[in-house]
Symmetry: D2
C-alpha cells in the first residue's frame, strides 16, 4: 500500500532536519519581522540569504519527479521532506519548493517547449525569478473551470488576452516574471475544450497588478495573492501551452501535484502546532493544575495525533498512487486529501489557539497565521464542496462496477426477505 | 420568560435602523479604508464625524442601565439595539457603546467616587476620551484571576503599580486617557481578597505601551488591544476603586455586562453574515445551478437561522434575568451565552466564508474580520473552557438541591429494580 | 417574546410533579418489565391502572388548546407540563397525552364532524380507545406528501382504500380502534389537492397489521409503530375528513402540534438524562478521580445545559407563536425546533451513554431506549433535511422582503467600494 | 509503511469473497430471523450449518498469527479478510473468527499450559465450544483495571472466585464452556500486580448467568453479553494463567488483537453501509430529484469514503506495527484505531440511517443493529476517553524525547523574539 522510506530519503531527511535547525528556525522571527516591516510587495532579505545556503547544501528543487532537472524524487519520496518544509511559512521558498512555483515548474516541464524551458523553467529552477498562476476570477465560481470568462483571442501571430483575475498567487512578488494564465480561446467549443493556458511575461503592457489580497488579515503569507487586470495584453502565439483548447487538460495535470504539496506542507504545519500545544500544556497552570493534566486538553492532543496520522497515511497513499498509476487514476485520493488535510489542520490549529488563550489569536505563537494558511486551503485549488462532489461521483461509478451479491447490485432485492418484524402473537 | 419589546424600544429601534442606513452602511468602506491606511495608533475621522451625528440624533449611551446618566434602558431593552450596532465594526463606537468603554463606564458608575465620575465618567459618556481595561497578563492564565501577578503596593498616599499586561483593550487609542487596572494588593490575603482595581491615568510616568496586538492579522478590529508595561507607576491612593481586596468583586460586576454586550453584538454580526450568505447563494452559479438551489448551501443557511434564533433567545433571557434577579444570580446564563454565542457566530461566519470562496478569506466581504472578532470572543473575557467549568459547577449545585424522586437523589437506588434483561428461558 | 408561566400552570405543574413522584417514577421499572414481558402487541397493566389515578387527579387531556373538551391550556401553557411527562416513556399515555393520539384528537376536534367526534373523539378523550396515524409508506419518500401512492377511490357511497403503510404509530396497540389514513383521491389534481385524509375503523375488512416495527431494537417504545396493508378497504363516504383534496391542509394543521409535543417531551427526556449524567459523574471514580472532577465530563455537562436551555426557549417561543399568530405563521419556528431539539437530545443522551460505560447501551439506565426515541425523531414527522429545506426557503423569502441598506439588497453594490487591498507602494 | 497484500492473501480473499456470495449473503435474512425467533440463549442453526462449509473450504481460524495452529497469517494479512467478514454480523462466527473467542484463543495460545491448550484451545479452534471473557464489573469503572473488585483467593490447591461481572461476552451462548476471568489475587500488591486471570469452566458450581444484556435493544448481536454472578466458585490452582499477579500483563497482550479485530470488522461494516447508502441514493426520489443528485447526500457519501479510507490505512499500519515491532510498541496506534474506527463507523451508519428514513431505525436494512455494534465499540474494551488519555500520555512522552530546535524544547525561548506587533509610529 505504502512503501517504506528509501535510504536516499532518510539521508536527505537528516540533512534537511539539520538545515532546519541550523538555519530556518533561528531565522523565523527575522522572516516574520521583515515580512511585516517590508509589506507584501517586497522580497525578504532573509529568504534570499538562505536560498544560497540551501542550494549549496543540495537541498534544492526536491519536488520535481520524473525529470532529470529535479532531484529525482518520486512524489512519495518527496512527501516527508515537503512535510518538514511545511513546518514554517518561510522554508518552502528557501528550498525552491514553494507554491505556486512548484506547480508552474511542473507545467513548464511537462507541457512547455524547449524555448519555454530555457527562458522560464531554467531561471525558476535556479531560484532567480518567480512565477504566478492566474486562474481564479472574482466574478464567477471558477472552481468550475467552465465558468471562466477571461478571453485569449488569436490575432495573427499573437494572442490578445483580456480578463480580471484574483487570488493570482505569486502576483505581488517583485521577482515574479512570468504568469501562467488560463482563459477561453473558444467559448463555442465543447465544454472541456474551451480553455487554454498561455505564458504571459509579467512586463507585458496591459497588465495591472491592482492590489495585494490578504488572507485573514495576512498579506503575503504564504502565497502572495494579487488581483490582476489584463487589458489587451498581447503575447506571441508560441506562448500557448500544448495547444488551444488544452487548458483543462493541463489544469488537471498541474493541480494534482499542487494539491498534494499543499497537503504535505499542512501536515508539517499541524505536526508543529501539536508540538506547540504539548509545550503549552506542560507549561501553563489553570485552576491549580497544568493544562497537560486536564482531560479536556489531553483529549484534544490525542485527537490531533489521530487526525494527523490518518491524514499523513492518506497523503502518502495518494502520493504512491500518483507515482504508480498516475495523477489521473489517483484523482479520487487527491480529492480526498484535499478535503481531509486542510480540515484536519484547521481543527488542530483551532484547538491550539484555544489552548494559547488570547495570545493564540496574535502573531507571537504563529497560530493565527497558520490558521489562515490552513483555512485558505479549504478554498484554494477548489473548495471542499467541489472535491466532495467529485469523490461522490467516483464512488457512484465504483459501486456501479461491483457485482458481488453482498454489495449494491444484489442488496436491494434482499431487503424484503430481511424483514425482521415480530408477527402478531395472535 | 422574556417580555416583549417596549414601545420605547420599538421607537428607538426604528430611529437606529434609519441612522444605520443613512450614515453607517454608506460609510463602512471609508471606515475600513481609514483603518487600514492610518494603522492601529490613529483615530479614524469617519467615526468622529458620525459620533456628532449620533449624539445629535439621541442615539447615545444606550447601554447604561439603572442610572440617570444613561438612556434609561434595561439590559433587555438595550439588547435589540446593541444587536443592530453589532452588525458592523464601526457602529458601536459611533453610538458611544463600544468595548471596553461600556464596561469601564459601568465600573465607574457603580464603584467610582464622585470625583472619579466627574473626572473620567463624564468625558467618557460625552465621547471625549476613551479608556482601557488591563487585566490579562502574558505570563499566566489570567482568566483565573487568582493567577494575576501584577502588584499594587501602598506607599504612603500612593499606590505603586508594577506588571505587564496584554490584550489591554483600548490601549492603542490615542484618545485613551484612563486605564482600569487589576492587580494584587495583598498576595497573602484569602484567595478572592487579594486583587484590587485601581484607576491609572494613561499619562502617568512608568507606563509604556509596547505594541499593538493583532487578531488574526487585524489590528484594531475591533478592540484595539495593546501590550503595556507598568514600571513603578504611582497614582494617588484615592484612585483605588471600592477598597483594597475588592477587585474580584468588581470584576464579577463588570464582566457580566461586558460579556452580554459582546454577545448581543455578535448576534447582529451573525445575522448580517446570514444575509450575505443568502445574497451570495442567490447570485452565484456553480455547476449549472445557483448555490441557493443546492441542498448543501440550503442546509447551512437553515442551520444558521436555527443557531441565531437560539442564541438570541438565550441572550435575551440572560438580559432579563440580569434586570430582574441581578447579575450575580444570572451568572449561569451569562456563562452560557458567553460559550454559545461566539461558537454560533464562528460557525455561521465560517459557512459564509466557504460560500464566498477565496474572497471569503479577504477583506472585500468583511467575513475574515468578522471571523476574527467572533473567534477572539471564544477567548476574551475568559475562554470557553472556564465558562463551561462554571456552568458545570452550578449544574452540580442545582442538582444537589433537587429532591423529587424522578431526579438525582432517588434515581440511583431505582437502578437495579429497573434491570430489564431477559432471564434464561431454561 | 415568551410570557411567564400563568398561576394556573404553576399550580398544575406542582400537582403533576407530585403525581410523577408518587405514581410514575416508582412504577417505571414495572412498566419496562411489563413491556418486555408482554411484547409489542399487549397493553401494559400498569398504564391502565395509572390512567385511572391521573384522570381522578385532574391531570388529563392537558394537551388540547382552544377547545372546551381539553383542559383549556394554550400550547405555551402546555409546554412545561408536556416536558415533565416526557421525562419517562410511560407518562404521556398515563395522562392521555401521548402520540399519536394527541395529534389525532386535534384532527378530530378541528376537522371531524359531530358524528366523528361522538364516535371517536369522545372515547379517545376518555382514554377508552387508542388511534393510529397512517401516512408514511415504505416505497416512497413520503415526507414529501406528493409522493404518496396509497389510493382512496370513491365508489358510490363508499371510499375504497388501497396501499401499504409503515411507521403507522399506534398500530400495534390492541386498544387501537381508529386510523387516520392519508392517501390520494385524485392523482391528477393540482399537486397539493391530490391528498385526502379519511377515518378508517381498525376492524374494517381488508386491513392487515403485518408486523410491529422496532426502533433500534425496541418494539413499542414509544410509539408502537406497525406496517399495515390496506386491501380494498371500504368505508362510508362520510368518513372523509373536511372534503376530498384537503389532506395536505389537514396534515399541515396536524403536524404542527404533533411536532411541538414531541419536542417538549424530548426536552424533558434530555433534562432527565442530564440529571443522570450528573449523578453518575458524582458517583463514579476513574483513574483516581470522580468523573465530576474531570474536565471532559464537566464540559459535556455544561454543553448539555446550554443546549437544553436553548432548545427550551426556542420551543416555548414556537408554542407562543402558535398561540398568537397561528400554526401556519409559526411554521418556520416549528421546523426549527423539529431540527434542533432531536439533535440536542441525541447529543445529550449520547454523552450520557458514554459516561455510563457499557451499561449505557443497555436497559438499566434507560439511555439506549431514550436514544432510540430521540434518534427516531430526526426522521419521524419529516427528516431533518426536509425541515431545513423549508427553513432555508422561508429565509430566502424573508431576505427578499428586506430593503434596508445594510441588508441584502444594497449590500452587493457596496462590495467593490469596500475593497481594502493595499495598493502597490511603487 | 504498509506492505502490499501478499499473493496468499489475494488468493484467500478471492475464496472468501466467493464464500460470502455463495453462502453468507443468501443466508443473512435467515440468520436474523432465527436470532429473533430463538432469542439470546439459543444457537442459530444457520451458523452451525455454515461453519461446516467454511471449515471444508479452508476458511477457518484465519486470525491466529505466529502459531502453527492458525492459518499462518500475520495481523496485516488477516486485516482485509477480517474486514470482509465484518460486513455482516453472522460471518465472523461462521469462519471461527468471532469475538470473544479469537481474543481468548490468543490468550490460551500465548499463556495457556499444554493441558489448557488440549482441553480448551483445541475444541475452540475446532469450533466445537465457545468461550467467554469476564472482565467488566457493574460496580466500578473497570476500564481502569485497578478498580476491579472481584477476588480470586488461594485455598490449598484451589482458587475461590467471587464477584459480579457484566458485559461478559459469550456468556449467553449455550455452547460456551470456558470463561477467562479477571480478578484480584492480591489487593495489597503493587498496582499492576494485583490482578490475575484464571480459567473457569462454565459448569463450575457457584456460577449464575443472571441475564442477557441487550445493546440498544438487541440481544446477542453481536457478542452475546451476559451478567454473571460468581459465588465461591472453586477451580484447581493449575487453572491460573501465567501466574498470580500477571493478569494485567495478559490483558495488555489480549486486548491489542481483540481491539484491532473489532476495528477491521467495523471497517467492513462501514464499507457495506456506504454501499447501501449509494444504492439508496440512486433509488430514492425526494422533491423531484434522486437523493444521489442532491449535494447534501453526495457530501455525506464523499465524507464516508474519506473516513473509511483513513481508518483502513491507520488500521493496516497498526497491524503492520504489531507484526513488526510487537503489540506493546504498537500501543499508541492500537489506541488510535480504537478511537477513530468506531467513531467513523458511527458517523457513516448514522448518515445512512438518515438517508433511509424511518426504515433506517428498524431491522429491514440492518442499519440500527450496525449502529448498535459500532456504538458499543466506543465503550467495549475501554471507552474512547481512556484510549485518548493513553494517546496523550504517549504523545507527551514522545515530545519530551525531541531535541531539534524547531520542536518543543527550543520553541518556547523563541517566542519573545517572534513578537511581531507594530511599534507605536510616534
Amino acid at each position: 500500500m505504502i512503501p517504506e522510506k528509501s535510504p536516499k530519503v532518510v539521508e536527505l531527511e537528516g540533512r534537511l532536519l539539520s538545515f532546519m535547525e541550523e538555519h530556518i528556525y533561528p531565522n523565523e522571527a527575522r522572516f516574520y519581522r521583515e515580512s511585516e516591516d517590508l509589506g507584501p510587495w517586497a522580497v525578504t532579505p532573509v529568504v534570499e540569504e538562505l536560498k544560497v545556503k540551501a542550494k549549496a547544501a543540495g537541498l534544492w528543487n526536491l519536488f520535481l519527479p520524473a525529470s532529470e532537472r529535479g532531484a529525482g524524487l518520486s512524489n512519495l519520496e518527496y512527501a516527508p521532506l515537503c512535510e518538514i518544509m511545511g513546518r514554517t511559512h518561510m522554508a518552502p521558498e528557501v528550498f525552491n519548493c514553494s507554491a505556486p512555483d512548484t506547480g508552474n515548474m511542473e507545467v513548464l516541464e511537462r507541457y512547455g517547449s524547449d524555448a519555454d524551458k530555457e527562458r522560464w523553467l531554467k531561471p525558476l529552477l535556479n531560484g532567480e525569478i518567480r512565477s504566478a498562476f492566474a486562474m481564479t476570477e472574482p466574478a464567477v465560481a471558477s472552481s468550475d473551470a467552465r465558468n471562466i470568462e477571461s478571453s485569449i483571442r488569436r490575432e495573427g501571430d499573437e494572442y490578445v488576452i483580456n480578463g480580471r483575475k484574483w487570488y493570482t498567487t505569486g502576483g505581488t512578488d517583485p521577482r515574479c516574471k512570468i504568469i501562467i494564465f488560463m482563459g477561453k480561446t473558444d467559448p463555442e467549443a465543447e465544454t472541456y475544450k474551451q480553455q487554454s493556458m498561455i505564458l504571459v511575461p509579467m512586463d507585458t503592457p496591459g497588465i495591472t497588478v491592482e492590489r495585494a489580497l490578504p488572507v485573514f488579515g495576512f498579506y503575503g503569507v504564504p502565497d502572495r495573492a494579487a488581483e490582476i487586470l489584463f487589458e489587451n495584453v498581447r503575447v506571441p502565439a508560441s506562448n500557448m501551452l500544448l495547444g488551444e483548447g488544452r487548458g483543462f487538460e493541463i489544469a488537471q495535470g498541474r493541480l494534482g501535484p499542487g494539491r498534494i504539496h499543499h497537503c504535505m506542507r499542512l501536515i508539517g504545519l499541524a505536526e508543529r502546532t501539536l508540538e506547540k500545544m504539548c509545550a503549552r500544556a506542560e507549561d501553563r497552570m489553570a485552576f491549580g493544575k497544568l493544562l497537560s493534566e486536564q482531560s479536556v486538553s489531553r483529549e484534544r492532543i490525542a485527537q490531533s495525533r489521530i487526525l494527523i496520522e490518518q491524514s499523513r497515511l492518506l497523503t502518502l497513499r495518494a502520493a504512491h498512487l500518483m507515482d504508480t498509476v498516475g495523477n489521473k487514476q489517483a484523482r479520487a485520493e487527491i480529492a480526498m486529501i484535499k478535503v481531509a488535510v486542510p480540515d484536519m489542520a484547521c481543527k488542530v490549529i483551532d484547538w491550539a489557539i484555544q489552548m494559547f488563550g488570547g495570545g493564540g489569536t496574535g502573531n507571537d505563537f504563529g497560530l493565527a497565521a497558520a490558521y489562515a494558511t490552513a483555512r485558505l486551503l479549504r478554498l484554494a485549488d477548489g473548495p471542499d464542496e467541489v472535491h466532495r462532489d467529485q469523490i461522490a461521483r467516483l464512488e457512484f461509478k465504483r459501486q456501479a462496477g461491483r457485482n458481488d451479491t453482498g454489495g449494491v447490485r444484489n442488496w436491494a432485492p434482499a431487503v424484503s426477505a430481511m424483514a425482521l418484524g415480530t408477527a402478531p402473537r395472535a
